[in-house]
Symmetry: C2
């Protein structure tokens, strides 16, 4: 068996240890005589898995006690409607649009309330993250929605650059950089993230929500879209995606073993630095976004020549560095170096980039 | 490793061959160098898995060409709202309420349209399935909703007993008996089923829908709840629950190898007969529902003595016959004998029932 280095933007690479454990436990989870896939969601076997995943996530993200952790379905896309449907009070919300997903969140949001784009970087093809200033933001918005990492263009918004009015809930889509660097959960009203980049398989969405935001809402909203229903039932109102939650739990354990998010962040910064240094010292490759806003999860670069980009992607794949093709609307290359991408993968990529440059300049 | 016989009502037992293959392919799917969990949903690797699952399901259910197969999220519960939100035309619908889930579907449905219970067996604690007669049904209903198998009480509605006006779409929740016996898909407007009983892990819902029912709907409906969005994108509008779909695909292949649904139905009828014959010839155990309406998936029985029921469940578990406790509101015992429960499991249960009766009467 030869594992590749998988730079896919999501679903993305998972820790080999996690996959190995999942394979070993597939037919018999810890002497239960069955797979986690076959367990009743009401069984004590599964409840332990479910609650351990929640408490481990609480620990590694330092989630304060007045927040609930939910496991939902439908991905970030479903949150684009659940957020406004559940948080609506005055009927208006602010959105920062710094990428494709932030724009989608805004477009869905405006179906349900008066959504305002407070800043957008679309004018420069999302190559930077607009600076946020409190003066841009409404004091009576129902929430202010941001995306902390823009998967497609490869930019991110750091914790220290996020501002919001005290009485306005800050809502963040962290799908592509949750658990990759430290964010202070207490400054957010709500955080959500599809699992398929830094947590586990596609099909489960983590929602971290401050308790005061969980309220009875208009009963005409589909029951499954009400946070209160899920919060009141510890995400067991209906059958949750148990197996995917189990894998997320294994990933949370793996992060704990690595020393937590703080330790993971250091490794991620080191990985990103290796790659960006290679780009910046190259005469062939160029980065595509403002340096300050560079994502440490999704690293975009181009040669400036489409044919050469294609050749790069093809030859890289031949040596086990796969899924380096950029997003279809962006072109070039994108290396997604999520938590589970080992530093060896990044080193192998850097080495190949140098070789490729030598041969092709 | 000792596998148990798992009579859980869902998530339930899966074919051991499927789990074994999933374990083997966990770190390297067919030479791809990665797990199916790690694959981009836009990759050709995953697209093959996705499309093969659809074509295999089409084959084993003999789904006509004018139907789409969708893989969605949110379980049957989410369908309870999606069905009325998408099929609404005249604003009225008929519901057959023959169990807990049919009732929930009705309760959610009436949030969105004028929902009518055309018949209910709640008066006798859902111990039978009301006979359907066309005269009960509105000719201008937007749909007529039924549940083909009632997991909690252990009753089912056979294909031959289902009637509906020609111009009214028949909608069936088949969560707990899809692929267990033959239903003529062409008589349905739509069929939906959570995967976690006869198909795969919790977290994916199969929707089979006639193309003329897939229409543009009120754009105020959350995008993720619109069938058209998912149908137009072959269930790849957003990241689908890829790994769960892969497991469903393995189960569909397993059914094909077994000879299709027709062959599976014969085995299921044999398994159910073994168990019901044991109950009917016993002086200790009693069935709990009308004989004609007995489910061949969920077999409920009681001793009439709660203490004895508990003892039965406990002692059965000690010999590897697990999850036989009845639903919390029903009590007694429930043996769920889904497709993947081998006949050996049912034989072992029957043997234990006979022994238990001898010792306890």
């Amino acid at each position: 068996m030869a594992r590749v280095f998988n730079f896919s933007a999501g679903p993305g690479t998972l820790p080999e240890e996690v996959l190995r454990q999942a394979a070993e436990e597939m037919l018999d989870y810890k002497g239960s005589g069955m797979s986690v896939m076959e367990m009743s969601h009401r069984s004590s076997w599964y409840e332990d898995i479910h609650n351990k995943a929640i408490s481990d996530l609480r620990e590694i993200m330092r989630i304060p006690d007045n927040y609930k952790v939910l496991f939902l379905q439908g991905g970030a896309h479903q949150q684009f409607s659940m957020v406004p449907l559940n948080l609506i009070r005055n009927g208006k919300a602010d959105y920062l649009v710094a990428g494709v997903w932030g724009k989608k969140a805004y477009q869905e949001g405006k179906k349900f309330l008066s959504a305002k784009v407070v800043a957008s970087s679309e004018d420069k093809k999302f190559t930077y993250v607009p600076k946020i200033d409190k003066s841009m933001l409404s004091e009576d918005a129902d929430f202010f929605h941001i995306t902390t990492n823009n998967t497609v263009y490869g930019t991110r918004l750091r914790d220290k650059d996020i501002v919001c009015h005290d009485n306005v809930p800050l809502v963040a889509d962290m799908s592509s950089n949750i658990l990759s660097e430290v964010y202070d959960v207490s400054k957010f009203g709500m955080i959500y993230a599809g699992a398929q980049k830094n947590m586990g398989p596609a099909g489960v969405t983590v929602v971290i929500i401050r308790e005061d935001l969980i309220q009875e809402i208009d009963e005409s909203v589909p029951t499954m879209l009400q946070y209160k229903i899920h919060a009141d039932n510890n995400s067991l109102y209906n059958t949750p995606p148990c197996y995917s939650i189990y894998i997320c739990g294994l990933v949370f354990e793996w992060i704990k073993k690595k020393g937590g998010v703080e330790a993971i962040q250091k490794i991620n910064e080191e990985k990103a630095k290796l790659l960006y240094d290679c780009i910046d010292s190259s005469n062939l490759f160029k980065g595509t976004v403002e340096k300050y806003d560079r994502s440490i999860m999704n690293v975009n670069f181009v040669t400036g020549n489409e044919e050469l980009d294609k050749k790069f992607v093809k030859e890289a794949a031949e040596r086990g560095l796969v899924n380096l093709k950029g997003y279809r609307t962006v072109g070039g290359m994108r290396a997604s170096i999520y938590n589970a991408m080992p530093i060896e993968g990044v080193k192998a990529l850097v080495e190949f980039m140098k070789e490729f440059e030598e041969k092709n300049s």
